[in-house]
């Protein structure tokens, strides 16, 4: 602390890259071990809901685009605009009230019921560990606890994907290369799958990295409401107790998550779109 600012910054960066985040002043544990505990839970929730939202979002956008200017299109548009305008907490609260309170089909919070024995941690992700340990009760219980928060997360975030898919389908539907594809005698199914949907997915891919970041940060609200022991809740507590030594590593981890998602999206982008190459060899346009 007596060192000049640039030395302090050097120590900070050194510790950042070696993963030495120091000790949580509230719990006395190292922050790295706490993040190691919370991160897999958040990943489980985020990845699961991300898969749901991509499937639902693309399907709805595709439907709206292919039924442009019909009743179905209008309804699909209302659905995704409303989805997009719903505050995260409203979705979570309604989910809890309806599916955990009035119609108690899902539990309202937590990761698994206390009555089951949790599986041996291998990867840290609860569901995968349960599957690896062939622990069916734990797997089912974990899944049951996962569905409600994941659905709430997915509902709030799928709107943008639908909108992007719809508008890129509108751009591509009447384009000349689709006409050519029909003219050369491809079946309607093939035209739709290879020429329309694939083009629409290219736009959705670059967008999905942004959405992933949103889902990641939405965990702040969802994990708090669903008592999900993840990074979002950890961050919330850190902010609430002004625990800055903990907050900085969490912001770093979240930012890393967004950067990794962007990187994955860029790679997927180049796989989907042959016009874009990774290296710039073979005359590919970079």
């Amino acid at each position: 602390m007596n060192d000049p600012l640039y030395s302090q910054y050097y120590y900070f960066m050194r510790d950042l890259f070696t993963g030495n985040f120091g000790i949580d002043p509230l719990t006395g544990q190292t922050i790295l071990s706490e993040i190691r505990f919370y991160l897999p839970n958040t990943l489980e929730l985020v990845l699961f809901s991300f898969v749901i939202l991509v499937i639902v979002g693309v399907a709805l956008g595709y439907f709206a685009g292919m039924h442009f200017s019909t009743l179905g299109d209008s309804i699909a548009r209302i659905i995704y605009l409303v989805s997009w305008s719903t505050p995260m907490y409203l979705a979570a609260i309604v989910a809890i009230l309806v599916f955990a309170n009035y119609i108690p089909v899902f539990p309202s919070g937590g990761m698994y019921s206390l009555s089951i024995s949790p599986p041996q941690p291998v990867t840290g992700i609860f569901l995968i560990d349960a599957l690896l340990g062939l622990n069916m009760p734990a797997f089912l219980s974990g899944l049951q606890h996962l569905i409600l928060p994941a659905a709430a997360l997915a509902f709030v975030n799928f709107g943008l994907i639908s909108r992007a898919v719809r508008s890129s389908i509108l751009n591509v539907r009447w384009s000349t290369h689709v006409k050519t594809a029909r003219a050369k005698g491809l079946s309607e199914d093939e035209v739709r799958r290879k020429h329309i949907l694939r083009n629409a997915l290219i736009d959705a891919t670059s967008l999905s990295a942004v959405i992933f970041g949103w889902v990641l940060t939405s965990t702040l609200v969802v994990e708090e409401l669903f008592a999900w022991p993840g990074l979002g809740q950890f961050a919330y507590q850190a902010i609430f107790s002004s625990d800055y030594p903990v907050l900085i590593p969490i912001v770093v981890v979240f930012t890393l998550g967004v950067i990794v998602a962007n990187f994955v999206a860029d790679v997927a982008y180049s796989l989907l779109d042959p016009r874009i190459g990774i290296g710039g060899h073979n005359g590919a346009v970079t």
């Binding site: 442009f68 200017s69 019909t70 009743l71 299109d73 209008s74 548009r77 209302i78 605009l81 409303v82 997009w84 305008s85 719903t86 505050p87 995260m88 907490y89 409203l90 609260i93 309604v94 809890i96 009230l97 309170n101 909108r163 508008s167 509108l170 751009n171 009447w174 970041g213 949103w214 990641l216 940060t217 939405s218 702040l220 609200v221 708090e224 409401l225 961050a235 919330y236 902010i239 609430f240 002004s242 800055y244 907050l247 969490i250 912001v251 979240f254 930012t255 998550g257 967004v258 950067i259 962007n262």
Partner: protein, 325 residues
């Protein structure tokens, strides 16, 4: 379903922007919500507690946790304050804060984006790398961190938002400027020895403003969501402020017993955001040159084609086209 006829397309292009937006009933609905809520907010700012049925601030512990009724439309909260009155009192904050955020961000964005796009070179490089850096941060986490550091207060919350909110505007403006600068009329203007400020203010600015305005309309909704999430988490915005997110957040423990205390403010939040989204979406669609000719199909359910276009369509309808439809 393809608009082959040139004249229909030209008619659609020649329609006024306002007509295009309002031809979509969803956008009109959005506009109505926006107008009502903004005027309510303005009325509350001017007249204060005189326009609310009860005082939004005064405690009345004898009437705490009442369910919704004709006396209290949205019920009362745990301190006996009328939730309906508090929602109205929250409007100036929940609309004012996002509008201020978006306005300031777009000013920053226009300034930096024009500098990057028009000056180019090293200035462009520096501005865009900084913008990319800021884009990498997850918005709400960064806002929370900044707001928690600055301390509670509406101005601080606004600053925290603007701190992370401007990068998309820079990219938007820069892209627009690059397109406009390549146009002939700018080179002609330069050849005529127009001053720098003249080119910027008369040549470039009017051409990028519509895109910024459209994006900003949509963005106010997003900003409103994030502001209310900040309130919900109880950070940045001072506690006990009538703010929709705070009203929802203050209930988390009595949720099963008094659900209306959280649901009504949350639904109002949604309604406000829906208003801005519908309006912004309609404006975006109407300003999209590619989609524009198609948005005025007769067949659309939630919108009516303006009369002039209907006549044009009827004129163009040949038997062959009817068969293909």
């Amino acid at each position: 379903m393809i608009l082959e006829s040139e004249s229909v397309v030209t008619t659609a292009q020649s329609l006024k922007f306002r007509q295009l937006v309002l031809s979509n009933r969803l956008s009109t609905f959005g506009l109505v919500i926006v107008i009502i809520s903004v005027s309510l907010a303005a009325a509350f700012t001017i007249f204060g507690e005189r326009i609310t049925p009860y005082s939004p601030y005064a405690l009345n512990l004898q009437e705490s946790n009442l369910p919704p009724s004709f006396a209290h439309f949205f019920g009362t909260d745990f301190q006996g304050r009328d939730i309906f009155s508090r929602v109205i009192a929250a409007l100036p904050i929940d609309l004012g804060l996002p509008i201020a955020i978006v306005l300031l961000s777009s000013v920053v964005g226009i300034f930096l984006g024009m500098a990057a796009g028009y000056l180019g070179g090293i200035v462009d490089e520096i501005i865009m790398r900084i913008t990319d850096l800021f884009l990498a941060f997850p918005t709400i986490i960064m806002v929370l961190a900044v707001a928690a550091t600055l301390g509670a207060g509406l101005v601080n919350a606004m600053l925290a938002f603007v701190f992370v909110w401007w990068p998309p505007y820079v990219r938007l403006v820069r892209g627009g400027v690059l397109e406009v600068v390549a146009e002939d009329f700018i080179s002609i203007s330069k050849a005529l020895n127009s001053s720098f400020t003249h080119i910027i203010l008369k040549g470039i600015l009017p051409n990028i403003l519509p895109a910024v305005l459209t994006y900003a309309t949509l963005d106010i909704g997003t900003a409103l969501l994030e502001v209310s999430i900040l309130g919900f988490l109880g950070i940045g915005i001072p506690p006990n402020t009538p703010e929709l997110g705070i009203m929802v957040g203050s209930i988390s423990y009595g949720l099963y017993t008094y659900p209306w205390q959280a649901l009504f403010p949350a639904f109002v939040t949604m309604l406000l955001v829906v208003g801005f989204s519908f309006l912004g979406e309609g404006a975006r669609e109407a300003s999209d040159v590619k989609v524009r000719p198609y948005i005025l199909f007769e067949g659309r359910v939630f919108g009516k084609a303006p009369e002039i276009l209907k006549q044009e369509l009827a004129k163009q309808r040949t038997p062959q086209q009817q068969a293909s439809n």
